[in-house]
Symmetry: C2
């Protein structure tokens, strides 16, 4: 008899429809089918991959009403956010189709031969990136579209030409299933084999573990908690054949506000910060969790202003009961360590809600109480008050790897050391803005040193996310007929290549 | 009292000078000094890094006689090989200096802002690669210069701007110490801090383990055995902060010879193969260990010819006693599993020697006896005889990840499926040549799927080896004055950058 699990509406706590849990046989079948698809070479055709990505985007848009309605009841996220997220998801699929069209993501390099080279003659060497094989994707609960079933990991992997097996997130099973159906249909439309894409709904650990263990799976993409990401990374590293895990695991996204910035635009920063902390329940990887504010009257007024704005925000619905409970526990611990700003209104209303709130501690406390730097996944912010520049730099030095770091300063203030301290420990440095709202651009970097991710050299947003699913192969003295199109002497695809060290589109 | 260990001349077995083993304090001091050097920002200056690399090359050439003489007594390798290797090592350092000069290894990407972008406005995003922090390098015994103290790992890491701590290989301690002295002097000449480069001589495991465990060490480069590489990778993955390990661990480098190739040029292939197997004691990562030869008269004659050539080769000196013993044991096991071609002459002479030799098995045996595919690190080759094309493809399918795969065929033969089978499991596919003699070029790929390396996406030879020591950072809406030169609007370095998706050297 099949095991089932139910969706839950977090805005009411009501139980929704039942979904069948994938079995061990389902996992093996999906992996075998993905391995067949990889072996078939069908995904090597860039035109088919681009058609799949564009087809999936069009299908998701066409099914948008149904997808958004389902996602609303499963996540408690508002319609406007989910409509935006659907468009972002579709746009991301299309952006990767454009990367496939352009073709130079394979980083082709050609070295022409030199029989007189010393100490040994130089052969003809042509190198490009090729797909690594089937990959597993673990979506996130907080972006049920853009970081889930057809999100950035899936889009970049399909663009790279690797089959994808998605472990559906149990917090939005109906959304995931609906999206998966469109991706599978788009693969069929594009003439790609069934193993190109698979979706395994699961609430248990077994499916996740079986996927990570499957010998034919060659890499894992993950977005979620540190505990989840680390356990997958540890498991993958202990395989007979270890595989890379690209886990994006969480961040407190420090913000530094200088005295000059407070003087010039305290209210604007307070308004932006309160929104960045509280929007969508603060359930964003890049939600600012720790904000450094100078001691003094202006800093006090700023912190109080933000606290008041949060206190005045309606209690926000969290994604599920587990996250609500975890946040309540974490905030309970935080209240032992830091001072709460403002009152303690209870989060009223049905379902799983939390009242946005602010706390305060001294910069020196980070040394004695490193737990202050734990991520609080929800609408919670900690102000860390600093005296001198040295106090601030010493406090920044205690911060581990983060996705982002932000500085609000005024022209004329010397913030070079602050920027350097942030750059040393984050993946993205933001100036006079807020880290939430990650634009999907060519150069966006959504990653960072451990523990914000398990692989600091890679990103899960932006066009370079494709490199996670590729590995180089060099051809030495190959007859032109046996070379892939990307490496042929006449460069039939017209792609940029590095020839004898210089970038060019010329033949070689 | 300091612990010491001695060098040994493998051509005679005679004990050489004593060397002081690095202590736990030495490790901590080297790591702290490297962390200081990283923090100081001194290595951010490309001109200083280029000066260090060119200075090290010049100093190694100037000290060439002494280095080569020492290396000969420690490795048993012939002078001509070591002179060539010294030149290769110096050339490699200079090639990375040129990469630093060119500057576009930082993979700069600029996305210009678009306030009207949907679903969210697009900020100004500028992304480049930055150094990850201090790294540890474990050199190999078989290339005492090009893959050791100032070898490819060290050269690429210093080019990337990360401080390097070398664990000196105990099989050539005098060579390592002599080379290290020149690299340190070159760092001082270039005005770089002492922590830029450190050398820790050690024969014990403790130093290696302490280095891998040190929190300030952010990555490891390793060339050596599977057992050594895997244990370091496992240890690094189990750290509180896991770090990447770029381990190049071994390979049997399969070669496929077709009936057509045998008919056209059996003798030339036999001559080249015997040299590739036996040169330098066959102690090369890319030594061909398994050669697929068709059944029949021509195949018999070919295999016998190679076996005779190997039998007629002087017993070669191996690098040290441990490798000689390990090879003797492995060959003992091989003799239980495969047939020896030719007689069994004993390896006479002093020191640690082994007689080059050839073995033969049936392609079907690879299924029942996978141990046949173990690496034999030394002048040993196994012929695997095949009947049909399907037999060959089935046998290739049993081969795990390798550094290289080679095919010898004639024009007109359809070898596409063979090339595809090789490409799927190797890092470099060679046509009508031999895998030994790895040219240092821009696009050379010296890597491959597990277990040939621990990181299939990376190479330890060629200019792209630099990316192992870098991670991306994005700047969002940064004031131009706070941007690194590589990302400034006017592109003062004149480097290639991807601007809104297109490669250009124009301002942005």
């Amino acid at each position: 008899m099949a095991t089932t699990f139910n969706s839950v509406d977090p805005s009411t706590g009501e139980i929704g429809p039942a979904y069948e849990e994938a079995t061990a046989d389902d996992v093996q079948a999906a992996v075998a089918s993905a391995a067949d698809a990889h072996r078939s070479g069908a995904l090597a055709d860039p035109a088919k991959r681009a058609a799949l990505l564009r087809g999936a985007a069009a299908r998701l848009r066409a099914a948008g009403d149904e997808i958004v309605t389902t996602a609303m009841t499963e996540t408690g996220l508002p319609e406007v956010r989910l409509r935006g997220e659907l468009e972002r998801t579709a746009g991301q699929l299309e952006a990767f189709a454009a990367v496939v069209d352009a073709g130079d993501y394979v980083e082709a390099i050609v070295d022409t031969p030199d029989p007189d080279a010393k100490p040994i003659p130089r052969p003809d060497v042509r190198r490009m990136l090729v797909p690594i094989g089937p990959v597993a994707v673990f979506g996130a609960s907080n972006f049920p579209l853009a970081f889930s079933t057809a999100g950035g990991d899936t889009a970049s992997a399909l663009a790279a030409g690797v089959p994808v097996i998605v472990k559906g997130h149990p917090s939005h099973p109906g959304t995931s299933e609906r999206v998966a159906r469109e991706v599978s249909a788009a693969a069929a439309d594009a003439g790609l084999p069934a193993g190109t894409f698979a979706h395994l709904p699961a609430a248990s650990l077994e499916v996740a573990q079986a996927l990570v263990d499957a010998p034919a799976v060659k890499a894992v993409g993950f977005t979620g908690s540190y505990a989840g990401g680390r356990s997958i990374a540890d498991r993958a590293a202990a395989r007979p054949e270890p595989i890379p895990v690209y886990a994006e695991m969480g961040s407190v996204n420090p913000i530094v506000v200088t005295a000059g910035a407070l003087e010039a635009r305290a209210e604007a920063i307070a308004e932006g910060l309160a929104a960045s902390v509280a929007n969508f329940g603060g359930q964003l990887c890049t939600k600012p969790g720790v904000v450094f504010v100078p001691y003094g009257e202006a800093g006090n007024a700023f912190a109080d202003d933000v606290a008041k704005r949060l206190e005045g925000t309606e209690p926000t619905v969290l994604l599920n009961e587990r996250l609500r409970d975890a946040l309540r526990d974490a905030v309970g611990r935080l209240e032992q360590r830091a001072e709460r700003l403002g009152g303690s209104p209870q989060a009223g209303g049905p379902g799983f809600r939390h009242q946005p709130s602010a706390y305060e501690a001294d910069a020196g406390d980070l040394g004695t109480t490193p737990e202050l730097l734990e991520e609080h996944f929800g609408p919670v912010v900690l102000f860390v008050r600093y005296g001198t520049r040295d106090d601030l730099l010493a406090a920044l030095d205690r911060i581990e790897g983060q996705l982002t770091g932000t500085v609000h300063a005024q022209e004329g203030e010397d913030v070079a050391t602050i920027v350097e301290a942030l750059r040393e420990r984050v993946g993205r440095v933001i100036f006079d803005g807020f880290p939430t709202g990650v634009a999907v651009t060519y150069g966006m970097h959504h990653g960072g040193p451990f523990p914000s991710t398990s692989a600091a050299a890679h990103t899960s947003v932006g066009m370079t996310a494709i490199t996670r699913w590729l590995r180089p192969v060099a051809y030495q003295n190959a007859p032109p007929a046996l070379l892939p199109a990307e490496l042929k002497p006449d460069n039939p695809l017209g792609i940029w290549r590095r020839v004898d060290g210089e970038l060019t589109r010329d033949p070689a």
